[in-house]
Structure formats: C-alpha cells, structure tokens
C-alpha cells in the first residue's frame, strides 16, 4: 500500500503485479467479491488500485463531493504515478470516473476499459437510466446486480456488512441526484480519443446492456463485448471469460 497526498486527500493505493501500468477504479459494491478480479489483473499489469475517498472509511473534505472531484483526483494521481501513459480500467461507478477523466485529459491514458459504466443517461425524462436500488427489496436489488447465484448477506462478516453500508453511503454521497449520472457527460464522450473497451453482462438488470451499445456509438475508438448470463458485475460472475477478452483487447494490445 502506498499513500499519496493529493489536493488535501490522503489516498491509499494498493500496488500489485508487474507489467504495463494500469489504474483500476473499483465499482460501488462488494469489495471482497471483486478481489479475485484485482488479483487476476495483477497477473498481466502493474495495477494501481486506490480506494475512493469515503469508500475508504475516511470522511472526504467538505468541498470534495462530486464526480468531478474524483476525476481530477485520479488525473492528479496519474501525473504523479508514472512517466508513461497507463491503462485506466473502471467498473460501474469506477467506469464513470474513468470516462470523466478521459473527457478531460487523455495525455496520461493509453487505453480505457469500461465494465458496465454508470455516469450517462441517454433516455428520456420518464425513462429510468439505472435501477433504483434503494427503492427495491434487497433480494430484487441483488438480482439486478448478479444474474446467477443470489447474494447471501448471511455469508458476509460483520465488517463486510458494514462495508456494504459504507459503500452505499458514499455512492449516494457522490451520485444521489442526478441519479448515478452527470447530465453533461454524454455530449462530450467524443473527447475520449483513446482506444476504449466496453464490457457488459447481457443480463445486467442495473445498467442495461443497451447503454453499452449506445456508448460505443458515441465513443470514437470503442468496442463492446457482451458476456452471456452475467449481470452487472461480469468480473465476479464470469471472471475467466472477461479476462480472456480484456487481455486480448485494446487495454492489452496498445503499446505492446
């Protein structure tokens, strides 16, 4: 774990693996279930894996509360990390941050990987862009996120349950209203000029796969891979298939 002091934020960054550098931006839920994915990534890249402010258990400064703040924080981190451009890979909430970074500045980004990213709403005002998880019964919300075996909180430790509550708190903190999106992001997606790999579970009940198709139309050098019978977290539900696509896609090829 390395600590970086950036813009009055103390950021703990786990560094693991060897290879080309990758910044991995985690999704909103279930860090311990996402862990095997991070370890797989480390077999192919040198992975920098920060924990977002707030999600890390530390109260962010009072003026740090928007998705813009996270984007600038990680752009500052990239400026500090490596002299060469890095792969930025983000899942869900992390994917949203990745897009926000890339529309601002791609100088230090050589490729962008996006697993079912939140952040854009392309439907009309009566359309729900993302499932309203907090208005759904726990079982229904869990089925939106995972297509296969249902989530069982009974298998979570007390600390893991507290982490679930904390993660939900900070997802709300950054993105309650507008709900999980930045209304101005969609119109600037053409500024993402680096090769971009979108990955999506075809049974995603939280962020519909159709959004992935729409994003490929707006992000210039992008491709989409869908994963059968996977929900919102294909990195949990079909890890091997996702790794196969990821290591054969633009995040691996560029610069080799």
């Amino acid at each position: 774990m390395e600590r970086f002091d950036l813009a009055e934020i103390s950021l703990d960054v786990e560094v693991l693996g060897t290879g080309k550098p990758m910044l991995y931006l985690h999704p909103e839920h279930y860090a311990h279930l996402q862990r095997p994915f991070v370890e797989k990534l480390a077999q192919h890249w040198k992975v920098y894996a920060p924990r977002h402010p707030g999600f890390d258990g530390r109260q962010p400064p009072s003026d740090f509360r928007r998705i813009d703040d996270l984007a600038y924080l990680y752009l500052d981190l990239l400026a500090r990390l490596e002299s060469e451009p890095v792969v930025v890979l983000g899942a869900s909430f992390g994917g949203w941050i990745g897009m926000e970074m890339a529309v601002r500045d791609t100088a230090k980004i050589r490729a962008l990987g996006l697993i079912a990213p939140l952040g854009t709403k392309l439907g009309g005002r009566d359309d729900r862009g993302f499932a309203d998880l907090s208005a759904l019964a726990e079982d229904d919300a869990a089925r939106c996120l995972l297509a296969g075996a249902p989530l069982n909180f009974g298998t979570f430790t007390a600390d893991q349950l507290t982490e679930v509550a904390q993660d939900r708190q900070y997802l709300a903190y950054y993105a309650w209203k507008p709900y999980l999106h930045n209304p101005v992001l969609a119109r600037w997606l053409h500024r993402i000029t680096v090769p971009t790999h979108l990955m999506w579970g075809d049974a995603d009940g939280f962020a519909p796969p159709e959004l992935g198709r729409q994003l490929t139309e707006r992000i210039p050098h992008s491709q989409l891979d869908l994963f059968s019978d996977a929900g919102h977290y294909p990195q949990i539900e079909c890890l091997e298939e996702l790794m196969a696509k990821l290591t054969a896609g633009p995040c691996a090829k560029i610069g080799e």
Binding site: A135, A141, A172, W176
Partner: protein, 384 residues
C-alpha cells in the same frame, strides 16, 4: 404542563386493502377523494374544538402514505390559524432537509405567524427514513442540509433590512428578503424532534424545545439527560418547558372505555412497521453499523418494557404500550397518575403531545376523548 392535540389525519379506509405496505409504493388509486374530503373536514373540526377546550394544536406531515394524509403541514395550520383564536399552533414539523426551497419554508411560517397573531411554534424535523424517497433528498448529506436550512430560515425570518446573499452548499439565493416578517420577535419559537441521545445533545446545545416521540419509559430519561448536558455545556438554563413528549392518550368514563379509545389510537404505532423494509435504511441515513446489522437480520420493530422484556410494535396490546410509557389510558384519574409517574421518571416534562385521535377512532369518540381530557385531566396538569 401544556398539552397539544395531534392527529395524522389518517386515511384509514385503505389500511386493510393495502396490507403490510402502507407507504412509499402505495398507489393513490386506493384513495377516494370524496371520503378524503370528509375526513379532512372532520379532523379540522376536531382541532378547531381544541380552541374551545384549551388544548393546543400540533400537526405534522408525511408523504406517500395512507397513515397520514397531511402531506403539507402548513395547509391545515393555515386553516386553523384563521379558525382558532386562542391556542398555540405547532408544526412538528417541517422536514427542512427534504424541502428544496428553504426560503419558501420561511415565507410559509411567517405568514402563519402573522395570520395567527403570533401563535405559531416552528418545528424543524429530520424526517423519518421513509421520507427520503418521496423527497429524493440525499440521505448521505441529510443532516448538513438540515442545519444549513435551519441557519438560512432563521436568518430569513429575523433579517428586516432588505435582501441578503446566501450561497451555501445546499441552498443558493442572491436576494433573500422574506415578506411578511413574522409576528413574534425575533421569530416563532423553535422545536426539534429527536430519537436518540446524540441528536438530543445537539438540540440541547441550541436551547430549543425538544420533542421526544414515543421513546418510552426505558429510553426517554437518557434522551432528556443528554439534552441537559448539551444545553448546560452551551450555557442555557434548562427549564421543563424545553421538554416535550408524544404519547397516545385515551380517556373514558370507565377504564375499559379509555383503553378502547387508546387501542384504536395506537394503530398509529401499529401501522408504522407496515413499511417496505428497503425504505427504512436509506444509504447514510443512520450509522453504517446499524444499517449493517439490518442487512442481515431484519427482525420486527420491538419496544422495550420496564422489566427488560420487549414486545412487537405491530401487534402490541394496550397494556404493553402503557407499560412502555407510550400510551396513557383509562379513566381521568388513571391517566393523570400515569402522566405524573412519567413526568417524575423523566425529571420534568413541559409539554404533553397528546395523540387524541388516531386510526379508526371515530369523530364522536375523539370529541369525547378530548372533551373529557380537557375537563378532568388538563386542569390538574396545569399544576405540574
């Protein structure tokens, strides 16, 4: 001790049909406006009666629910500000973190205070967790928005020299200039509700009237003590008029009649748990440790008894609610004794917020309940 009559203007005709979910997701197709109109007028008549009986008036608001048809607390209060002449009028209250226009809150309160010729008491409340969804207010920043709204509303009510600027985190105005100014100076008295010692201390630090709602025999003393600590630490002299407590009250000519009335009013408590589980714990609304416990183990809502036992809120008997200090019920003598005991137990109570109507209690029973209470109990409480 002052007494206030409170009703939620329940739309109880839909309760059976709606089963175990009375809030948030219930379709308004189950609401018959003709029945609702009759109910509104009936409840307003009962409050108006209080002006003759010497019982002050309390209203609140909830949203998207058949348990409380008062969706805007200042609307019944506006009617009562004109219709009554004597008693004081308490909105408890305005969920100011869920109201996106704080200046509008100041305007509504100022108008009410002027129309009532200075009889308004202003409640600022956090609001129940299931209120977050209808308001779409961010639960993770709820309390910071609450306190910013509080600061802005009080400044808006007490500034009389033309516009001022307010560009905070949650509210932005460049020309705040509230008309009319309130009748009372510098503004109507402030009340806040609490449910825990932590929030009680914060209210104590401000020196406001603190209302503890249904917190019962077991929990209320700790809450009152916490208020005293906060108040004394901030240099406030703590008098009993700083303490209010909400309970269900049923009085009758016989024990049986008083208990029957209380039991019907207690459907207010019994319907509270009939809320879909996911609306109880919006993200960040309560501590993550508490939310985490509920993720895995969602047991029924329980209420502590005096002997250390507990009972289910949704099915509790009148005896259990009386033991818990949530209901005062029986003949006037019994009710007076129960209130005296509670008053002593908590170290002095300045205000009894009496739920004198609730659920299926009929208009005739409500009038009889309020009238008997005003004649036989209220005069004795004045001496406490």
């Amino acid at each position: 001790m002052d007494v206030w009559h409170f009703s939620e203007m329940a739309y109880h005709p839909a309760w059976d049909e709606l089963g175990n979910s009375l809030r948030n997701v219930v379709p308004s197709s189950v609401y018959d406006p003709k029945v609702g109109a009759d109910l509104y007028h009936r409840y307003l008549d009962e409050w108006a009666l209080c002006d003759e009986l010497g019982i002050n008036i309390m209203v609140n608001e909830h949203h998207t629910t058949a348990t409380c048809a008062t969706s805007v607390c200042t609307i019944p209060m506006a009617i009562l500000a004109r219709e009554t002449k004597n008693v004081r009028l308490l909105c408890l209250g305005m969920p100011i973190a869920n109201r996106m226009d704080a200046v509008r809150v100041a305007e509504e309160y100022a108008m009410l205070d002027v129309i009532s010729r200075g009889r308004l008491e202003m409640g600022f409340v956090k609001g129940a967790p299931f209120e977050v969804s209808p308001a779409n207010s961010n639960p993770a920043t709820l309390m910071e928005r609450f306190w910013e709204a509080h600061d802005l509303i009080l400044k808006a009510l007490s500034s009389h020299d033309g516009p001022f600027n307010w560009e905070g985190e949650h509210f932005q105005y460049r020309q705040v200039n509230v008309w009319p100014r309130p009748y009372q100076t510098p503004h109507p008295p402030v009340w806040m509700t609490v449910a825990s010692p932590g929030s009680a201390m914060a209210v104590g630090e401000k020196g406001y009237v603190m209302a503890s709602l249904n917190t019962g025999y077991a929990n209320t003393p700790t809450i009152f003590d916490s208020y005293r600590k906060g108040a004394e630490a901030s240099g406030h002299v703590v008098t009993k008029d700083r303490f209010a407590y909400l309970a269900m009250v049923g009085v009758g000519e016989t024990e049986e009649e008083g208990r029957r009335r209380a039991s019907q009013i207690l459907d207010y408590s019994r319907t509270t748990p009939r809320t879909a589980a996911q609306f109880w714990f919006p993200p960040g609304y309560t501590s993550n440790e508490v939310t985490a416990q509920k993720l895995h183990n969602r047991g029924p809502l329980m209420i502590p008894l005096r002997d250390g036992g507990e009972f289910e809120m949704q099915t509790g008997s009148v005896d259990e609610f009386i033991d818990a200090g949530i209901a005062f019920a029986g003949t006037p003598d019994t009710v007076f004794e129960q209130i005296c005991e509670f008053n002593e137990h908590v170290g002095g109570l300045g205000h009894l917020l009496m739920m004198g109507q609730g659920g299926h209690l009929s208009h005739e029973d409500t009038v009889a309940n309020l009238t008997l209470f005003s004649k036989e109990v209220l005069p004795r409480l004045k001496g406490l």
